[in-house]
Symmetry: C2
Subunit: 347 residues, 2 copies
C-alpha cells in the first residue's frame, strides 16, 4: 500500500513513493518555484509530481513535509521563510485537487518521524531531532507522538537565542542558535575568512580559484575530510555550538536521545565529535544524572520525504477505518430497515 512523501525545501522539491517499511520505490525531484511566485505555482508542482508518480504506482495518500510553520490542525502553513505561503490552507487545497487523503507537516517533524520509525532513533521514547541544514530544524517525539505545542509550531529550536546581541537572523532577532550552528553559519564564516584573505583560508581560496561566492557547505566538509585545518576548525565551531544548544535542550526536555540530521550532519564525526564533547561539558548536573545519547541520523536527505509518506499512511489508514465503519453502519441500517419492511419473516 504505497504512499507518496514530498519534501518541500527552499531550493528543491523531492517526491517519492514509499512502502510500509520505509523503502523508496521511486523518487522524483523538481526545483522549488521562486518565492516571488504565487502559492498556486508550488501547488501545481506538487500535483504534477504526484500525478506523475501515480501513473506507475497505486498511490493511497500523500504526505507533505514543508519547510515552514504548520498550524495545530496541520492544514495551514502559517509562514515559510523560503516560500510564498502565508497562512495558506495547503492541505485542503491539495486534497481538493488530488482526491486522496493529504497530510501536511513541518519538514523537521517528518524527518524525526522517519528516524524514529526506521532510522537512528528507532523506538526511543523521548527523542529530540535536530536537522542542520541552511538553518536548524527541530522536532520533539514522545512515545511515538510528535509534540507540536498549542499552535503547532513547537520545535523551532533554531530561533532560541544563544548569543545576546549576536548575529542578525532573518527571523527578526539576533543571536539565534542557527546563526551559530548550521550550513549557513559554516559558509558565512568560511567566506568571511576568505574575504579577509586570512592565511588560514588559503586552502579554500585556492580551491575556488578566488571566487569566494562559490564556497559551499559540502565543499567545506570535503576539504575538512582532506585535512584542511580551517575547514576542520569551522566544523568544530559549528559542532561546539551544536553541543551547547543540545545541552540547553537537555536541561529543558531531558530526552533519551538526540538525533542529528540535515545536510551538515554529512560531516559525521568532524561535527558530532565536537558536539558530543561540548554537550558533556555543558550539561547541567552532569555526573548526577543519566545522559542522553547523541547520534547521527541514518536516513540522509530523504528522511523528510520518507517520514511524510509514513505519516500519510497513518492518516490513510484512519480514513479507511472510518469509511469501513460508515459502510458497516449503513449495512446495519439496511438490515434494520429490511426487517421493518417484512417483520413477520425476520423478527
Amino acid at each position: 500500500m504505497p504512499t507518496v512523501g514530498i519534501d518541500i525545501g527552499g531550493t528543491k522539491v523531492m517526491a517519492g513513493v514509499v512502502d510500509a517499511d520505509g523503502n523508496i520505490l521511486e523518487k522524483l525531484r523538481a526545483e522549488t518555484p521562486d518565492k516571488s511566485k504565487s502559492p498556486k505555482v508550488v501547488e501545481d508542482t506538487i500535483v504534477e509530481l504526484v500525478l506523475d508518480l501515480s501513473d506507475r504506482h497505486d498511490v493511497h495518500a500523500v504526505g507533505i513535509g514543508a519547510a515552514g510553520w504548520v498550524d495545530a490542525d496541520r492544514n495551514r502553513v502559517l509562514f515559510a521563510p523560503h516560500l510564498s505561503w502565508r497562512n495558506e490552507p495547503l492541505r485542503d487545497r491539495l486534497a481538493g485537487r488530488l482526491a486522496v487523503p493529504v497530510l501536511v507537516d513541518n519538514d523537521a517533524n517528518s524527518a524525526a518521524w522517519a528516524e524514529w520509525r526506521f532510522g537512528a532513533g528507532r523506538g526511543e521514547d523521548n527523542l529530540v531531532m535536530i536537522t542542520l541544514g541552511t538553518g536548524i530544524g527541530g522536532a520533539i517525539l514522545e512515545d511515538g507522538q510528535v509534540k507540536r505545542g498549542k499552535y503547532g509550531v513547537a520545535g523551532e529550536f533554531g530561533h532560541m537565542q544563544v548569543v545576546p546581541g549576536g548575529h542578525r537572523c532573518p527571523c527578526g532577532n539576533r543571536g539565534c542558535w542557527e546563526q551559530y550552528s548550521s550550513g549557513n553559519a559554516l559558509v558565512r564564516e568560511a567566506r568571511e575568512l576568505a574575504a579577509a584573505d586570512s592565511p588560514v583560508a588559503y586552502g579554500i581560496i585556492e580551491h575556488v580559484k578566488g571566487n569566494i561566492g562559490d564556497i559551499s557547505g559540502p565543499m567545506i566538509t570535503e576539504l575538512a575530510r582532506e585535512g584542511d585545518a580551517m575547514c576542520i576548525e569551522l566544523l568544530q565551531d559549528i559542532g561546539q555550538w551544536l553541543g551547547v544548544g543540545i545541552a540547553n535542550l537537555a536541561a529543558a526536555l531531558d530526552p533519551s536521545c538526540f538525533v542529528i540530521g540535515g545536510g551538515v550532519s554529512a560531516a559525521d564525526d568532524l561535527l558530532i565529535g565536537p558536539a558530543r564533547d561540548a554537550f558533556k561539558r555543558h550539561l547541567t548536573g552532569r555526573g548526577y544524572r543519566p545522559e542522553a545519547r547523541v547520534v547521527r541520523a541514518q536516513l540522509g536527505p530523504e528522511a523528510g520525504m520518507v517520514g511524510a509518506a509514513d505519516l500519510a499512511r497513518l492518516v490513510a489508514r484512519r480514513f479507511r477505518r472510518a469509511k469501513r465503519r460508515r459502510v458497516e453502519r449503513y449495512e446495519r441500517y439496511e438490515k434494520f430497515a429490511e426487517a421493518r419492511r417484512s417483520p413477520s419473516e425476520s423478527l
Copy 2:
C-alpha cells in the same frame, strides 16, 4: 479526604493539610536542616510534621515537593543543590515510616500542578511554569500531565545558557538563565552596586544603614514599589531576561500559557510588565503566529505545598481503587470456593 503536602526548599520546610478543592486546612513550618546533616535528619523533620498534623486530621496520603531532581520513578532524589540528598530513595524511606501512600516530585512540578488545578493556569492544555525564587524552577504540563522527560529531570530551564561565558553558576556552568533572572541575580546586582558605592544605590544603602549583606529580594521589591529608581531598574533587568528566556521556550515548546510564580513574582507588574515586553520583542515569528499568554501565578508561596498534596490525592485514589479490586477479587474467589463446597445449593 484531606492529604498532606510538603514543600522542601533550601531554607524552610512547609507542611499543610489540603482538601480536594485546594484549600489549606492547617499549615506548619520548620527550618530545613543544614546541608551538612545526614539525609535522615530531613526525613525526621518530615515525619514529625506529618505526625503532628495527623493528630488533628485524618491524613490519607503525603505528597512531597522537593527542591531537587527527582528520578523518573518519582522515588529517588538524584541531586539537590541545597540539601544533602544524593540518589536518595526518599519515597520508599518515608512510605516505610508513614504507613500512608507517599508521592515525591520536584517542587516546580508540584507548584505547576497546583496552578493548573486551582490557579492562574486552570485548564490550560499546554502550560509552562517558571518559578523565580533563589534560582529558576520550571515545569511543563501538557493536557494535565507533568512532562518529566526520560529520566525525570525535564524543566530545568534555569540552567539553559543565555550568556556564553557569563556569570558562574553553582551547577558548574557559566551564563545560566537563573544567573540573570532570579532572586539571587536581583540581590547580587543590588549588592554589587551598593558595594561600589554607586550613586544609584544610595537609597538602598541608606535603607540597610550601610550593611550591604542585609539587602534582600523582598526589600528590593518593596523599595521599587516606593519608587526607588535603581530597584525598579533591577526588576526591569530581571524581567527583561525573563522575557528573553520565555521567548526561547516558546520557540521550543509553543505553549498556550506561561505562569510566572516564585518569590520574585511578588513584584508583579514591576517584573511581569518588562517580561511581557521582552517576550513580545524576542518571540521568533512574531506577527505570524498566535502568542502564549504570560500571567502571574495566583497561589503564592503555598503553590508547591498545595500541588504536592493534590498529586498525593491522585496516588491515594489509585491505591484505594487497587485495594478495592483486590477485595472484590477476594470476594469473588470466596463465593466461588463456597459454591464448590456446596454445589447442590448454589449452582
